[in-house]
């Protein structure tokens, strides 16, 4: 990764080849009667065309919420975006009026979800639902829209598309439903596709088919793909770059090869050690101790420090680098790699 965040001039100017989407210092919080849940706490990233960026994290790490903020589909209230910028085609989406946002996002950014059955409307045929994109954004007639729907179903390799276009979602298998979702998402040739755990509910053999399809479509259209997942294997096989999230922050970022072979953050390191491999029967697993943090009471300093084996507290710590007191910023550790740990050099062994 050569372009690092902080500034993304090409996105702001609306031109250039590099990043199409830039998220800057994004915060999302959920205000409830009892407390405030800080789901996303200042994340920044960019996605270029043709790039696949994986956002890797466990449940509650803020990976889905940040994507929902980009799509503008957070339930507000309780969700609020107190700070942040989302730059797309030269415009900050968060400052646009709602109707303008819809016009930009509709054809430009689309999203697919984990649970395809509950994301599809059970009382409309899939052809009607895929065609809706053309009717809403291109003003096509029902007949024309359906013709496009069949073409799209062919493109996502649904067999016998012309016969199945009038079928309802419950008549399709899980893998086929996810293809219908993908057909809807790519209908208007989006620049960015956000895939939120697209294969988590699917079996491995179907997962392989769907990931293959996504990669092929990306090659054809050159869209940027944001892949949200907790599956290390999927990240390794599909993504170019990876951002690891923990407690609403990005704790490490770099190319997949670098991050997976030599993690620079103890959390990433812990994840790698705690997952068994299919190719080798290893010895005992080394789990990360403790539980993921409560987002309404995120630990002080480094949010990972209560579970970290490498933490240094009080007198052990270098000045200004107390894991319980000083929050480590996401910083450049070695070229092309950022990590939010005071002691990343030690983790890397450089």
């Amino acid at each position: 990764m050569t372009t690092l965040p902080g500034s993304a001039p090409s996105v702001r100017d609306g031109g250039g080849s590099a990043p199409i989407l830039a998220v800057e210092d994004l915060f999302v919080e959920f205000r409830t009667r009892e407390n405030v849940v800080n789901a996303v706490n200042g994340i920044s990233y960019t996605v270029s065309s043709g790039e696949t960026l994986a956002i890797l994290g466990e449940s509650g790490s803020g990976k889905s919420v940040s994507a929902q903020a980009i799509m503008g589909i957070l339930d507000t209230p309780p969700a609020q975006v107190p700070n942040g910028e989302i730059w797309f085609e030269g415009r900050n989406l968060l400052t646009l009026p709602a109707e303008e946002q819809r016009k930009v996002r509709g054809p430009g950014i689309s999203m697919i979800f984990q649970d395809a059955l509950s994301s599809l409307n059970p009382v409309y045929s899939v052809g009607f639902q895929i065609g809706e994109m053309f009717r809403a954004h291109r003003g096509l007639s029902r007949k024309e829209a359906k013709k496009h729907a069949v073409e799209l179903m062919d493109r996502v390799r649904i067999p016998a598309a012309a016969q199945r276009v009038n079928d309802y979602p419950h008549q399709f298998s899980g893998g086929m439903r996810q293809r219908v979702m993908i057909a809807m998402a790519i209908a208007l040739d989006p620049k960015i596709l956000i895939a939120d755990e697209p294969t988590t509910a699917l079996d491995v053999t179907v997962q392989a088919q769907v990931m293959d399809l996504l990669k092929d479509l990306q090659r054809e259209t050159g869209m940027g793909l944001v892949l949200i997942t907790h599956d290390l294997g999927v990240v390794n096989e599909v993504a170019d770059n990876v951002a690891v999230m923990y407690a609403g922050r990005i704790v490490e970022r770099g190319t997949v090869d670098d991050v997976f072979t030599r993690p620079a953050h103890p959390y990433t390191e812990g994840l790698m050690n705690s997952v068994p491999n299919v190719e080798v029967k290893g010895g005992r697993l080394q789990p990360i101790t403790g539980q993921p943090p409560n987002l309404s009471k995120i630990p002080s300093g480094c949010p990972f420090h209560p579970r970290c084996a490498r933490r240094r507290l009080g007198a052990e710590a270098a000045p200004g680098r107390d894991c319980a007191g000083d929050r480590p910023p996401l910083r450049l550790v070695v070229p092309g790699r950022e990590a939010a740990c005071h002691y990343s050099e030690e983790v890397l062994g450089v």
Binding site: T205, V206, G233, N277, E279, G282, L285, I288, Q291
Partner: protein, 361 residues
Amino acid sequence: MSEAAGATAASVPSDSESALPPAPPPGAPLLEIKGLKKHFPLTQGVVFKRTVGHVRAVDGVDLTLRRGETLGLVGESGCGKSTVSKLLVALEKPTAGEILYKGRDVAKMGGRALKQYRREVQIIFQDPYASLNPRMTVGDIVAEGWSVHADIAPRKGRLQRTQELMDRVGLNPDFVNRYPHQFSGGQRQRIGIARALALQPEIIVCDEPVSALDVSVQAQVVNLLEDLQDDFGLSYLFIAHDLSVVRHISDRVAVMYLGSVVEEGTDAQVYGSPSHPYTQALLSSVPLHEPALRGQKDRILLQGDVPSPANPPSGCRFRTRCWKAQDICAVEPPALVDRGQGHPSACHFAEARTVVPVDVD
């Protein structure tokens, strides 16, 4: 644990009623499943229900679980692995076939023997949220089994026993009066494990025990299960769809497809030299974590979906998606036997093939 039961057994006359014999030595078969079938009827009509067909959820499964070992059962959703687990804990009655536990057929057990069987074969469920009663405290949940099997824990020391069990599975014993919603997913799964352990079982059926957990927590629960096996000599039937986890924990692995076992062997045999086309395709679909191995495995992309178990293909179940299929496959269902590849495989054209690159280090 069996001494007490064995002593009282002498006074009970009927064979089906009498208590079960003590457990065999480690390594000897403890549980044998022979030709197990479970067909669920498909009905039509509201008032006058008539049967229009059957879902062949489990259709002829043979498995052996030895004492102290872990048998992994893998397969995709709908292949019948969870139905096998329900049949094993006697929550469902088999349509045909038998489950032999310590040499006795479970379907023919009654009274005392069935009660003892149900105590000795426990289950841990996939969903730690749905499998715990939200209105009961952890202490009540763990101790509930003792109200049926009162001989295991004397009434007096139950609180202490509960707290010991909680400590054993890594829960703070002071939380004995808390409710399930006050715990995280991983902790709840530990409560489920403590509940299973409370009845001093011989076998624990683990039905997708870590699938609902976060990756960093999965490893904690897997390690706990391994420790408990070493300490108590437990046998596990470990059902999961995650092939990596199954390989890690299992001594032997059986692969299921559409209601029957297609391949069986030690973990090294099944993962190192899979010989059934379905196993090969399944393994090749698993994404690898190692960047160095990317693109090094055989890519076998299966076409289409799993056929409906209500109307499975004739002959070999897998033939509709198989690249090796020939005329014989549609006629004759292949038996699960060794055809020279070193372990049983239910394919007429079984041939060992390395799909996943093994051992980089």
